[in-house]
């Protein structure tokens, strides 16, 4: 029988499929569609210290083989995530979840991670460093090795759970940033977040998104994501959650051959609420066709 299990910093998961943050809500929304315990795990919606409404609408635009989003981190805030969302999740999901944390200052990252550290159901903390660094003039924490390392250190100081730093692809050298995170103590790397893009409405002659720009994701970004996973795999020795454009079981295998120990699925869930389920169900067939009996064996296999 095909063995789909993989290991992320000591967290053994039954398969590598992890719906990506922002595309799977807090999980229970999908529980009405299928038993979400079939997932390896999932990463919940990016959570900040304060509740956030996010950007005005329109927040969504279409692209060739992909979509743009400018949600702006709408979330109920860490208090309600802990008091409402996690208890609700516990009723439908018996596995450890990945807590996606965002912030606009080192203190905010540390505060949220310290709070979430006490939650038993959280298996991994995924720290999204694509948000603008308010103090550093708005460039994101994820755009320099120094600021990425600073966030890593700040959160590692307050939690004993594995910390995965989630990197932005909008940089000149992502491997350098990943290496800085590893050196600062990160237990793993998640990549990629969305690529900044935009669309213009031809009739109104104005940007489609109220925020002007948004994050591109979906199959269009897959070759870029794959290259970045490849580069980061060469630069670090901690596990990688690879994502960006994955929408089929074959994509999962390609991502793992590039170096991903587990694979995030984002926009595909938006297009089709059953996408993650379909991918998990078709993985054994793809593995058989390609002569793979243990998925964990192929991680980084193309290097």
């Amino acid at each position: 029988m095909a063995d789909l299990s993989v290991n992320l910093s000591g967290l053994h998961i039954s398969n590598p499929i992890i719906p990506a943050s922002g595309t799977f809500g807090f999980g229970h929304e999908f529980a009405g569609f299928y038993d979400i315990n079939i997932l390896g795990s999932f990463s919940f919606k990016g959570t900040t210290r304060e509740p956030r409404f996010g950007n005005p609408a329109p927040r969504i635009a279409e692209a060739s083989a992909g979509m743009l989003n400018a949600i702006g981190l709408q979330n109920p805030g860490i208090d309600r995530v802990i008091s409402e969302e996690l208890p609700r999740l516990r009723q439908v999901f018996s596995k450890p979840v990945i807590a996606n944390i965002s912030g606009f200052s080192l203190e905010e990252y540390a505060y949220c991670c310290e709070r979430i550290d006490k939650e038993e159901q959280v298996g991994i903390i995924e720290v999204n460093i694509s948000c603008p660094n308010v103090r550093d003039g708005g460039m994101s924490f994820g755009t320099t090795p120094e600021s990425a390392a600073a966030v890593t250190r700040a959160v590692k100081a307050v939690t004993t759970k594995p910390v995965y730093m989630k990197l932005s692809p909008n940089v000149t050298d992502i491997a350098e940033i990943a290496a800085a995170c590893e050196e600062a103590g990160a237990d793993g790397i998640s990549l990629i977040n969305t690529l900044t893009g935009m669309r213009i409405d031809l009739k109104s002659r104005k940007p489609v998104l109220s925020n002007i720009t948004g994050g591109l994701s979906g199959p269009a970004v897959f070759p870029i994501a794959l290259r970045m996973v490849w580069e980061v795999y060469e630069a670090v020795s901690i596990p990688i959650i690879g994502m960006g454009g994955v929408s089929t079981a074959d994509d999962v295998i390609e991502m793992m051959l590039a170096g991903a120990a587990a694979v995030g699925v984002g926009a595909a869930n938006i297009r089709d609420p059953f996408a993650s389920k379909k991918i998990i169900e078709s993985l054994p067939d793809s593995m058989e066709r390609l002569g793979i009996s243990r998925l964990a064996d192929i991680i980084g296999g193309a290097h």
Binding site: T23, G66, M67
Partner: protein
């Protein structure tokens, strides 16, 4: 919500830019008029949200305007084509609140969901008045269908080529009604909201990602908090509405 395969039973031009499509398949998840389906189209990443115009035991009808690449693609589909869609999305209109003499106001592509609503309200024994607004006579559709159902139908056109010249609000004066249901472009909804003398429900549009309440793509800031148009809407109560502009 259910995800189902549908077969195009018919797809015909109703009026300028406007098509009616009948889809055969499992409609069991439809609960109320005003709900919508989210249609996957070959070659397009995002689905297209279209209101359910009406339904029978084994099929549903949509009426849509070809305004962009996706709806133009739909217009080209032939009988027998297969479509996959999420069905029974959104809250839909609450027919319990109608009172005895509900007024339904629709503009252009906002008219379709009022058709099943009219049918339901008439089935409930209500006296239904429908105001249908179009740009001009060549874009008008479904007038006789609403009349045949048994509604009192008033037509307005912006250019006066059919019915009352002007906007739907120009036809509201002097009407006697117990409740207001409205669907159409946002400026029309605002005008109706400002003029309506009763409580009511207003159906909104927003660009959507998932269509099922997960991505926060379609959020609307209402007086009572954040609403996802796809899940907490598209129908909002009059007292919840906060005009954003």
């Amino acid at each position: 919500m259910k995800k189902n395969k549908f077969i195009v039973k018919s797809n015909r031009l109703l009026a300028k830019y406007t098509y009616e499509m009948e889809l055969k398949g499992d409609i069991s998840s439809i609960k109320r008029p005003g709900q919508f389906i989210h249609i996957e189209l070959d070659g397009f990443f995002l689905r297209r949200p279209i209101s359910i115009c009406d339904w029978t035991a084994s099929s549903l009808t949509i009426v849509y305007k070809a305004v962009g690449r996706g709806t133009e693609y739909m217009a080209g589909l032939a009988e027998g084509a297969e479509l996959e869609a999420l069905v029974g999305l959104g809250n839909g209109f609450d027919t319990q609140k109608s009172g005895e003499k509900p007024l339904l106001i629709g503009g252009g592509a906002g008219i379709p969901p009022l058709y099943a609503l009219t049918r339901k309200l008439l089935e409930n024994g209500k006296k239904v008045t429908v105001v249908l607004g179009f740009n001009s006579a060549d874009e008008a559709f479904y007038i006789s269908k609403f009349t045949t159902l048994g509604a009192n139908v008033i037509i307005t056109t912006a250019d006066g080529s059919l019915g009352v010249r002007g906007l739907v609000t120009d036809a509201m004066d002097g009407l006697d009604y117990s409740y207001t249901y409205a669907c159409g472009p946002e400026p029309m909804l605002k005008a109706v909201y400002d003029k309506a003398l009763t409580d009511g429900q207003y159906s909104f549009e927003e660009r959507m990602g998932c269509g099922i309440g997960v991505c926060m793509g379609c959020v609307y800031r209402s007086k009572t908090g954040y609403k996802r148009i796809c899940k907490d809407g598209p129908v909002l109560e009059k007292e919840e509405i906060l005009w954003q502009t």
